[in-house]
């Protein structure tokens, strides 16, 4: 991994007409030709070699229909961009002829998107909200959870949109995770506003998931600036009260800060605010900007070369570290941060969207470096890269 962006969704080449799905269907993949026959009816076989065993619910083949495909078998032909698919992965095939990778058993970066709706409208949103009825995404997530082989997923992420927009159904989803995949730790990306409702926070805590953390963005110590970044008046107040309620009920909370032109100057003040008001949070993540979604529309007000804020970043990390607040710096090329940030530095970009720039060729520290979002490589990145020699 790490070279090129993985394509997680795309058009299939051919669907065997006999079984053109009338609705989107989820399949758990197997590459094992010796899978007990009794299990085959629930799985799709990913054709890798010449062997095409009988009895699978569905077949997935690259480039063309295998000649020895069992009669009457349903088969979907996909191109080699999906060559990464493997045992225990879960895919969805829609009636629109699109295939989507929903779960990759070998990846630590599995995210379940359950809605595109959101009550924030962040300047740099990577997943611009849509006000549509997308409840089917929730249904699909529930099905996916039942399908994922237990013990294969160490960690999964629930994301959106704003997952809590479902209210009670969101809480049911967390319970569903707990019952089906109790050994999978959960990271929920939420703006935290819904948790300002104490009763909601209490119910969420009452699920008693053994290992769950909510990642909540706080962009500034100044409410006006936070509200501006998320384009929602009063959001800061609700988010803060949400965090307080979650911590009161003993829940784990991460504070996430996307660093860009509107937030970088305030980083040290935000760090101090956290040490003074939210010392009990579990960790802080300071993250580089992803050049996708709304970011590209708001590029002028958001883009700043990370090299210009590296001292502010260092100061924020030093303040948080002084107070023993666990802090991590994500999504920043190593050559654009000061050496004192390295203790907090994490290589973190999800494997499927992680790349390096042309300038990085020959850099001796590439393997320590987090690199770039693929979107950054495509749509612009720092001109200050300086390979380590």
């Amino acid at each position: 991994m790490g070279g090129r962006m993985l394509k997680l969704s795309g058009k299939v080449i051919q669907l065997s007409s006999a079984v053109m799905p009338v609705r989107r269907q989820l399949f758990l993949l197997s590459t094992n030709p010796h899978l007990p026959v009794v299990l085959r009816g629930k799985r799709a076989f990913l054709v890798r070699g010449n062997e095409v065993p009988e009895g699978f619910r569905h077949y997935l083949a690259f480039d063309s229909v295998p000649e020895n495909l069992p009669a009457e078998a349903a088969c979907t032909v996909i191109d080699r961009t999906f060559a990464y698919l493997a045992e225990n992965d879960v895919i969805a095939i829609g009636s629109d002829g699109r295939i989507r990778s929903l779960y990759r058993a070998s990846s630590p970066h599995n995210a379940v998107l359950i809605t595109e709706r959101c009550n924030n409208y962040c300047l740099m949103c990577s997943q611009p909200p849509k006000d549509v009825d997308d409840g089917w995404l929730m249904d699909e997530a529930m099905e996916l959870i039942r399908m994922i082989p237990r013990h294969t997923a160490k960690i999964m992420c629930i994301t959106g949109g704003e997952p809590t927009i479902y209210g009670e159904d969101f809480i049911s989803l967390v319970g569903h995770f707990k019952r089906y995949l109790p050994h999978t730790s959960l990271h929920i990306l939420s703006n935290g506003r819904r948790f300002a409702d104490r009763e909601f926070a209490r119910k969420y805590a009452a699920v008693g998931h053994p290992e769950v953390m909510v990642g909540i963005p706080v962009y500034s110590s100044d409410p006006a600036r936070h509200d501006y970044v998320v384009q929602a008046k009063g959001a800061f107040d609700e988010t803060l009260r949400g965090i307080l309620n979650l911590k009161e009920f003993g829940q784990r909370v991460e504070i996430r800060v996307v660093v860009h032109k509107q937030t970088c100057d305030g980083l040290p003040a935000l760090a101090e605010f956290i040490t003074r008001n939210l010392l009990f949070i579990d960790q802080v993540a300071l993250m580089g900007l992803e050049m996708t979604g709304f970011t590209r529309a708001n590029l002028d007000s958001l883009w700043i070369d990370p090299i210009e804020y590296k001292d502010k970043l260092s100061e924020a990390v030093r303040v948080l570290s002084s107070y023993r607040v666990p802090v991590s710096v994500y999504n920043h090329p190593l050559c654009l941060v000061n050496p004192d940030v390295e203790e907090a530095y994490v290589r973190s970009i999800s494997d499927w969207k992680n790349e390096y720039a042309l300038e990085c060729q020959g850099c001796t520290r590439k393997h320590d470096c987090g690199g770039f979002f693929s979107s950054g490589i495509q749509h612009g990145y720092s001109q200050s890269l300086k390979p380590f020699t």
Partner: protein
């Protein structure tokens, strides 16, 4: 892209803002410091303060954002600032509810030293007269375990407590025995010069988890001048004891306190260097207490608050230099105030607490069975003023001791959130009540603040720390490291 609104949309200029409670105090030329009940602060130009209180401060002013983030103002409808203020206030006072933690046992008044500023010790061989008995110790332990505090610290004081070593062992073992049922977080400390400490004693300390709080006044000449003993070898004995204690009990099991005598005034760097040389991680630049021999011999009047502040500032500057050059070294007095300024925690330092730590944070059992509200209270008693003797182990029970009128009056009268001169002081959140000092100096629990040396010192340190943080960002980061680590 009209679907995105500019930042001005997100400040409520139309409906104005509300002030949240704060106090202010001039700070040098044209500036003021604002502080609130939880100890957060903002330094402003004086005109800005005027604008703030007249509700004319512009929402686009950078100070507006700072004041809002520090909870000195809020916009209509905001609830988080109040919740956070309440949470921080609860955090700050949370330890008060646990009541007494520190229990001092004066196991002997006898001492092998004859320090001129010492408050209480006796040069005597008369054990019967100046040593605590087992019976008295038992009665004291009865009181100790009445404390509702889940953490109990027993500190052995003197005189030189090692002169009554058998009683220390007796108390430690009795307390341990009782604690098998009580299950408190039980700690022991011996306050000793180490001059009489044997390896066997250290081994006992090691086996029972006993800490050692010792004394080091500076370089050999200064230390020996301050601490005369037969043989004039106090320093040598301390250093020898220190290394043996580190070897046997543990490196972090032994600390040292410094007493600032008149001779210390010009020696602050020497003193600090001595602490650095002996590999301590900090020094406590304390002032002399106005009790006992200190007052009688005029040592106390040999330097006033102003002179002491000079000493302190010079020392702090040197310590910051050391830190900037890579040697991590803490000044503990600053650290106590800075903890109140830069964190949500209260350091629970008995002499800088509000309500006063007397009686409720610490209590003293004297060798003769008398119970005092603080170490200073028994020193005052040695000078003939028994105001803060709150009971006697042989004649009073727990309830009588801790509801003693003198104690309750002292706590109430000196409570800084209502005391005249304190309640509206911007330094108050970082200060504390000291009824014993003020009673001792003026006969009044509250004292007259404009004339109070205590007040001058606290104001002086606090303002100096603010000034250092304002002008030296690197120093502020060093301070944050000092206070953030706990």
């Amino acid at each position: 892209m009209s679907k995105f609104q500019p930042i001005s949309t997100y400040s409520d200029a139309e409906h104005g803002y509300e002030l949240l409670p704060f106090k202010f105090e001039p700070l040098g030329e044209g500036e003021v410091v604002l502080s609130n009940i939880v100890g957060e602060f903002v330094i402003l130009e004086r005109e800005k303060l005027g604008a703030l209180v007249n509700h004319t401060l512009d929402t686009s002013d950078p100070d507006y954002s700072t004041l809002r983030a520090k909870h000195m103002l809020r916009e209509p409808g905001e609830q988080a600032p109040l919740e956070l203020l309440a949470l921080k206030a609860r955090t700050k006072f949370v330890n008060k509810a646990n009541f007494t933690n520190l229990h001092l046992f004066v196991v002997s008044l006898r001492c092998d030293h004859s320090c001129q500023y010492c408050q209480v010790s006796r040069q005597s061989e008369d054990k019967a007269k100046f040593d605590m008995t087992e019976e008295t110790a038992d009665k004291a332990l009865d009181i100790v375990f009445r404390s509702p505090n889940p953490a109990i610290k027993i500190e052995f004081q003197g005189g030189e407590p090692l002169l009554n070593w058998p009683l220390i062992k007796y108390i430690v073992e009795k307390a341990e025995e009782r604690n098998r049922l009580e299950r408190r977080n039980l700690q022991f400390v011996i306050t000793t010069t180490l001059s009489l400490a044997t390896d066997e004693m250290f081994e006992y300390c090691r086996d029972h988890g006993i800490f050692l709080s010792s004394s080091l006044d500076g370089p050999e000449d200064l230390h020996n001048k301050n601490r005369p003993r037969p043989g004039r070898d106090s320093y040598a004995r301390f250093v020898d004891g220190l290394w043996r204690a580190r070897e046997i009990v543990g490196y972090d099991a032994v600390s040292a306190l410094m007493t600032t005598s008149p001779s210390s005034m010009n020696r602050v760097k020497d003193i600090i260097d001595e602490y650095v040389k002996l590999d301590f991680n900090g020094v406590f630049l304390r002032h002399l207490s106005p009790y006992g021999f200190a007052l009688r011999t005029k040592s106390y009047h040999a330097y006033n608050a102003e002179r002491w502040l000079e000493f302190f500032k010079e020392g702090l500057a040197y310590i910051l230099e050391l830190n900037k050059a890579g040697t991590v070294f803490v000044e503990h007095y600053s650290s106590i105030l800075l903890t109140k300024m830069l964190t949500v925690r209260d350091p629970s330092f008995v002499d800088l607490s509000n309500p006063s730590g007397a009686g409720i944070s610490a209590v003293v059992f004297n060798y003769d069975g008398d119970v005092y509200a603080s170490d200073e209270s028994r020193m005052l008693h040695e000078m003939g003023d028994s105001t803060f003797r709150i009971g006697n182990l042989y004649t009073n029970n727990y309830e009588e001791i801790f509801t003693n009128d003198a104690l309750l009056t002292a706590l109430e009268d000196s409570f800084t959130l209502s005391a005249p001169g304190c309640s509206d002081c911007a330094i108050e959140p970082w200060c504390g009540a000291d009824p014993v000092f003020h009673h001792g100096m003026t006969g009044d629990m509250l004292g007259r603040k404009p004339e109070s040396e205590f007040c001058k010192r606290q104001m002086g340190i606090a303002k100096h720390l603010l000034e250092v943080m304002r002008t030296d960002p690197e120093a502020k980061e060093i301070f944050m490291k000092w206070v953030g680590a706990c």
